[in-house]
């Protein structure tokens, strides 16, 4: 399963927006998938990713699924946000 984050917007900021995105993913994209399903999170096209939004989506996906791959994650806000989540939200990917 590949999740293209840009489909949720180029500017991904705020917890309520992240929570809404995660709920939509849960209903339409990841519903019924097994815990060991390989999930690819594609950051292509994302311009701004803030830790509040990402904590509601990336951290939760990482808790739900065992195999997560991040692609096209070179954007600086993406890199810095992932760093923050690894340090303060126990993100393991």
């Amino acid at each position: 399963m590949q999740i293209k984050l840009v489909k949720f917007g180029e500017v991904l900021i705020s917890r309520p927006a992240g929570r809404e995105a995660f709920l939509a993913m849960s209903a339409y994209l990841t519903k019924g998938l097994k815990k060991d399903e390989k999930i690819t999170i594609d950051f292509k096209g994302v311009k701004v990713l803030a830790p509040s939004w990402a904590d509601e989506v990336i951290t939760k996906l990482a808790k739900e699924f065992k195999s997560i791959k991040l692609i096209n994650a070179k954007n600086e806000t993406v890199q810095q946000t992932l760093k923050t989540l690894r340090e303060y939200s126990n993100l393991k990917i």
Binding site: A50, S52, Q80, T84
Partner: protein
């Protein structure tokens, strides 16, 4: 406070509730703030390195959204935030302010041993803690701190009688004011990188 948007932000946060200015810089709701933040990104992209514009926007987004996250349903009087940005030949400046509960009152609920505004600000910028426990939050200001340092920006963050000055280092001092709520001023001069 200096002239321009700094003075406007200071006046907005310290005004008597009935005199609070609902000018172009006022965002009553998170949606209002989001619209203005996106407009700011588009403005900055015309003047500075695109990546830096995105990082600055993420920092402003975290601070502004914190105001809504921690004060929703609990504003002291006027809901929402003051949010203004200006760009000159020398500097980008962003001011954010809210008339909410302030950092000390918010964090005291989850860390009762906090004694004052200075301790509260230090905790907010250095510890994984959130006033909205048991929700697992509390990473936004750490992201802010790290990226202010990385981009050689300057952040002045005031809440109550405490002022945090962040750049390469962080210094938190007691001030002779009592700012009810939070006031943040971001400055960025490194246009070229």
């Amino acid at each position: 406070m200096k002239n321009g948007i700094e003075e406007l932000a200071y006046n907005w946060i310290t005004a008597n509730a009935k005199n609070v200015d609902a000018s172009d810089y006022y965002c009553q709701t998170r949606d209002n703030f989001d619209v203005k933040l996106r407009a700011m990104i588009n403005l900055f992209k015309k003047h500075i390195n695109e990546n830096n514009a995105y990082i600055i926007s993420a920092i402003a987004g975290e601070i502004g959204n914190n105001s809504f996250d921690h004060n929703i349903g609990n504003w002291r009087d006027v809901m929402g935030v003051f949010f203004a940005a200006e760009i000159s030949d020398k500097e980008i400046k962003i001011c954010l302010a809210d008339r909410g509960q302030g950092v000390f009152k918010t964090l005291k609920k989850v860390k009762p041993e906090l004694k004052n505004d200075v301790e509260a600000l230090k905790t907010a910028f250095t510890e994984k803690i959130s006033g909205r426990a048991p929700e697992n939050r509390g990473n936004g200001l750490k992201f802010v701190k790290e990226n202010i340092k990385n981009k050689k920006m300057k952040l002045t963050f005031i809440s109550g009688s405490a002022q945090a000055e962040l750049n390469n280092e962080m210094e938190i001092t007691k001030i002779n004011k009592n700012i009810k709520g939070c006031l943040a001023i971001i400055k960025y001069k490194q246009y070229a990188n």
